[in-house]
Symmetry: C2
Subunit: 414 residues, 2 copies
Amino acid sequence: MKQSQLFTKTRREAPKDEVSQNAQLLIRAGYIHKEMAGVYDFLPLGLRVLNKIVNIIREEMNALGGVELQMSALQDRTHWETSGRWDDEVLDVWFKTRLKNGNETGLGTTHEEPLTAVMKDHIRSFRDLPVYAYQFQTKFRNEVRAKSGIMRGREFLMKDLYSFCSTKAEQDYFYEKAKAAYVKIFERLGLGEKTYLTFSSGGSFSKYSHEFQTLTEAGEDTIYVHKAKKLAINKEVLNEEVLSDLGIKREDLVEKKAVEVGNIFNLGTRFSDSLGLVYNDEQGKSQPVVMGSYGIGPSRVMGTIVETFADEKGIVWPEAVAPFNIHLIGLFNNSGSVRAAADKIYRDMTSKGVEVLFDDRDVSAGEKFSDSDLIGIPTRYIVSEKTLAATVDGSIGAIEVKDRKTGKVEMIKI
Amino acid sequence: MKQSQLFTKTRREAPKDEVSQNAQLLIRAGYIHKEMAGVYDFLPLGLRVLNKIVNIIREEMNALGGVELQMSALQDRTHWETSGRWDDEVLDVWFKTRLKNGNETGLGTTHEEPLTAVMKDHIRSFRDLPVYAYQFQTKFRNEVRAKSGIMRGREFLMKDLYSFCSTKAEQDYFYEKAKAAYVKIFERLGLGEKTYLTFSSGGSFSKYSHEFQTLTEAGEDTIYVHKAKKLAINKEVLNEEVLSDLGIKREDLVEKKAVEVGNIFNLGTRFSDSLGLVYNDEQGKSQPVVMGSYGIGPSRVMGTIVETFADEKGIVWPEAVAPFNIHLIGLFNNSGSVRAAADKIYRDMTSKGVEVLFDDRDVSAGEKFSDSDLIGIPTRYIVSEKTLAATVDGSIGAIEVKDRKTGKVEMIKI
């Protein structure tokens, strides 16, 4: 894409009311626009990053045997009344609204209830199980405070997968597979090193649930990390029992701030019991379906990546989620031949499928460089009169390549 | 995809309260689930069709020079108060809700206001124009009645593009290009023949706007069609003046029911004036930006396609939007060798990139055929003991191919 066609501009200052680093940088670089606290628009660069994250997660969900669908945001309250989660005292993040006929409806904060209701139309026999259904869907949560940028939105994209199994053993088996898939996803997203499988409270059907927590000062959670075992314990469940369960000594733990980028949860028969989702087993006996839920917020992941890798100059994207692979910068200095050479390099790379953002604007080199640092594409190619005259490996005509993360510069042949 | 892995089941009856043919068929075939009136979940087959429609539209929007972004559903009311469209008396389809702090917010029914506000951060000079920004985004409209299935949802997917131009001439030029792109889109979607460019009321900045209306008895609009000129006039603007403008005689018009599948609209400076979106022209003088809007509802298109092509047996998808290209049906009849042969054909086709739904279930041939008719994939491949023993062009082993639309059957070599 040519930068002249990208309507977004970088800016020196983020909105005064924006206190989070991720949103400040993303707004300044033109990735997002703040609609109101906790509500952001994804501008072209931002949507590209979000889609890259989504696609990595989608590939791993499909590899798990997941089938993709998309549930509605508007909710039939009857399912939630049946499960006991319609009341604001029980689920305190509802946005509720009314149909013209006066009936109250709510905006989905999660989808256990409606998806369980869907499955009642489709699951009858043990032969129909297991089912792993997932979606990328916009959730609405009426948070009291929303000060963490896109790491905690009032409206945000969520990948939520729900497993429907015939037995606890089948569910446990999938749970472990999902855990491994999550480890792989965070590795692919570039967050593997800083992300810890974290033991958290489990509810009625299993002692613990698991969170994936990424270390960052911007996180709202406190976890206790055991570096050697590559696991952590959420502050809320840290006690002698969990230490004994995990065979861990308290003195080996280090307290850290972290953000929950994913979670997996055994639901047992909590929702199938209350909503009546049953199947006939091999003996023809009616049994409740055993469920689990598995969430990752792609927009939260995006904010976490910004917080994790940004430096004083701006954003630094890992290769896998960068909006473009190469930021091609032409320093034309009124030279038609430099412009033509840069344009040819742009066309050649694009035709080979390389995703290139080409800064073809008539602005100063300084402005191009500082915009490029702020935008944070991993590799910068500079084409100028100087590079075109340079000799590399005996041939004239070169590109200066600079790595955004390390700052390392080298010259390569065109 | 193997049908045994697809959790959805076909059903004989749609919900009793579902009166529209499109939703009845889509529910019975397992494409969608009714959450409540006007609100539907897209199950795996339904999401595949919706994504096909989205991708066709996206390609044509990109070809127009459009840049994709994604706006929020939750709306900052101040922009709407400024434009005068916050009041329910003015815009009567708002869903409104409240943040925890008591502030009222609404769910976006359209996005002129917030996108104009975004552009105020990015457009300064004539050099920044034109901009064509579009999104695929979920709209919420609090309709009094929602009886048309996915053709008129309270929550639905919308492609909306907004053009931002420096002059009326630039805007008019793009408007014509967008018109041509829309004609192409409806052709690609299989609706070209039945879709008419329809003159409709224009507002303050141009005499007419244009709708794209597809003829169907399920439509809520009445239009007057001039078949020879391949255009139509919406009932609401049919008068002597429009007839004279178009050089059309009233007696050449035929009254038809139709559904508005797209619309394009010159907004002039309606929103840039009220929200203060200006740019500096070449003389450094401040000018209001000239805008246009261009909508297509992919989910409405999907419903319209169902209404247009369905027959007494079920849905009939055009090739371009079908969830799969081929419905491969194995009639195993307890034969391991037939199952193995069908399985090999499935794997071979899939590895060649053909999208195949493979009915590998252990159910009767009759059930497989009636499900297949209902689901409506364009081409059916049948593999059975009989076809594997058949000789075509001197070689033994064939597939029976049946066209869903015409019912035409032929035998082909494996």
